[in-house]
Symmetry: C2
Subunit: 241 residues, 2 copies
C-alpha cells in the first residue's frame, strides 16, 4: 500500500535526549549521569501518568517537574540556576547526525513530526536544527491535551496531513510509541538505537538502556526495524505502490 | 469529616513486591537483583501504557510480559522453568510485618483492597496471608478493564462499599497511586517506605529506590504521610467526626 506521509517522533528519534548529559555533568559533576537518566525516566512516567489520570499539563511543565524530582531525589536543590540552563537545552537538543540528510532524501513524501513536546518547544527545536522547511506540519499532542500512546494523539495525524491512516508510516525509536502507533493502526518503523549489540554498561545509563533497548512486550510489534533514519528512503522505496 | 471506609493498595502497600528478590537470586545468582528491579519497573510501565493505549490485559499477563522482558534484557531466556516459579511467588508475596495487626486494629471501619491485581491473584494473596476475613471487599481494577491511576479504577470503590467518595481514606505507598487517588477525590494517606532516610544504595535497587522514594511532582500531594500501616489507627482516630 502506498505511503504518502512519513511521521516522526521527535525526542529520541530525531533528537538525542541524551545530549543533555554533557551540560548535566558540567553543572553537577559526577552526578550528571544519574540526573540525566532519572530525569528522562520521570519525564516519560509523568506523561503516561498525566495521560492516564486525565490531568494534562504541557510537556514543558512536565519536563520541569521531572527535572526537579531528579535533582531532589539525589539531594540537590532544584534552583533556577541549575534548572533553567538544563531546561533550555531541551530547546536545542542535538539532532541525530543523519537526521537532516535523511529527511532531505524523503522529499517526495509529506513529512511531519508528532511529538509530546509543547508547540513552543517543538518550534524552537525544528528551527534550531534547520529542519523546519522540510516539514509539512509539526503536530504537538497539546492539540489533544494528552500524551502518547493515547490513541487521541495518533488521531491528530490524518486530518492534519489530509491523508488516510493507512497511508502513514510512523517512525519512532521509543518502544512505547511503536506499540501505541501500531495499536492505533499506523504502519510503524522502529529505529533500534544503541540496541542489543552493546554490552550492558554499568551504572544508571546502562540500567536505562536495559529498560529501553528491546521491543516492548505489549503485543504490537513494529512492521519494520531499522538502524538509523538513513534506512528510511530505501525502505519506503521498497514498499512501492 | 467521618471516615467510614479505609481502602488499601496491595502491591508495595500491604505486600512487599521486593520479596521476589530472594527467589530471583536463587534462580539467577547475582543477576537476581537486576531482574527484580527491571521486572517491577516494566510491570508498572506496562500497566500505565496499556491503560493509556486502551489495550487492557490483566495483571497476570502484564506481569508475565514484564518478567519476560526483564530476563531477555539481560540475555537470559524466559523459559517456563524460570518464569513459572517467579510468577508463583506473586501469589504468595510477603505481607509487611505489621499488616495483619494494623488491619485488625481498624475493625471499626469498612476495609477493602483496590488493586491492579487480577481477581485470582488477589484472592490467592489475601488467603495466603490470612487477611481475607478482615476485608469487606477485594476490588480488582479488572472490573474496569484499565489500570490505576485511571479514575475509572477509583470509581469502583464507592458503589462496591456503599459509601461516598468523601468517606474513603485511601492508603498507598506508591506515589503514582497517591496522586491518582487524590486527583480523583479521595483523602489519601501515603506510606513512605524506605524513604529519604536511607543513603543512596548503589546498583539497580538503589536506582529503583531513587525513582520511588519521594512524593511525585504531579500536583496532588497526599493529605497524610505515615511511616507504616500501624500509624493508621491513631491517624483515623485523630480525624474524629
Amino acid at each position: 500500500m502506498t505511503v504518502r506521509a512519513i511521521v516522526f517522533d521527535a525526542y529520541g528519534t530525531l533528537y538525542d535526549v541524551q545530549s543533555v548529559r554533557g551540560l548535566a555533568a558540567r553543572l553537577c559533576g559526577d552526578k550528571g549521569e544519574l540526573i540525566t537518566q532519572i530525569w528522562r525516566l520521570k519525564q516519560l512516567e509523568y506523561t503516561w501518568l498525566r495521560g492516564l489520570m486525565r490531568s494534562y499539563e504541557d510537556f514543558w511543565s512536565t519536563t520541569r517537574a521531572a527535572l526537579e524530582f531528579a535533582l531532589e531525589s539525589i539531594g540537590i536543590a532544584p534552583t533556577p540556576a541549575l534548572c533553567d540552563p538544563l531546561m533550555a537545552k531541551y530547546l536545542d537538543l542535538d539532532p541525530y547526525p543523519e537526521a537532516r540528510e535523511a529527511l532531505g532524501a524523503l522529499s517526495g513524501y509529506k513529512l511531519a513530526i508528532l511529538s509530546n513536546g509543547s508547540p513552543k518547544m517543538l518550534d524552537a527545536l525544528v528551527h534550531a536544527s534547520g529542519i523546519a522547511g522540510l516539514l509539512a506540519d509539526v503536530i504537538s499532542v497539546d492539540r489533544a491535551k494528552t500524551y502518547k500512546p493515547d490513541p487521541k494523539c495518533y488521531e491528530l495525524v490524518a486530518p492534519a496531513l489530509c491523508v488516510a491512516n493507512h497511508e502513514v508510516l510512523f517512525v519512532s525509536s521509543n518502544g512505547f510509541d511503536v506499540a501505541g502507533a501500531k495499536c492505533f493502526g499506523f504502519r510503524v518503523a522502529w529505529i533500534e538505537r544503541g540496541g542489543a549489540a552493546a554490552a550492558p554498561e554499568p551504572g544508571p545509563a546502562g540500567f536505562y538502556r536495559l529498560l529501553r533497548a528491546r521491543a516492548e512486550r505489549l503485543g504490537y510489534p513494529a512492521d519494520f526495524r531499522i538502524a538509523a533514519l538513513s534506512d528510511l528512503a530505501p525502505l519506503v522505496a521498497s514498499l512501492g505502490d
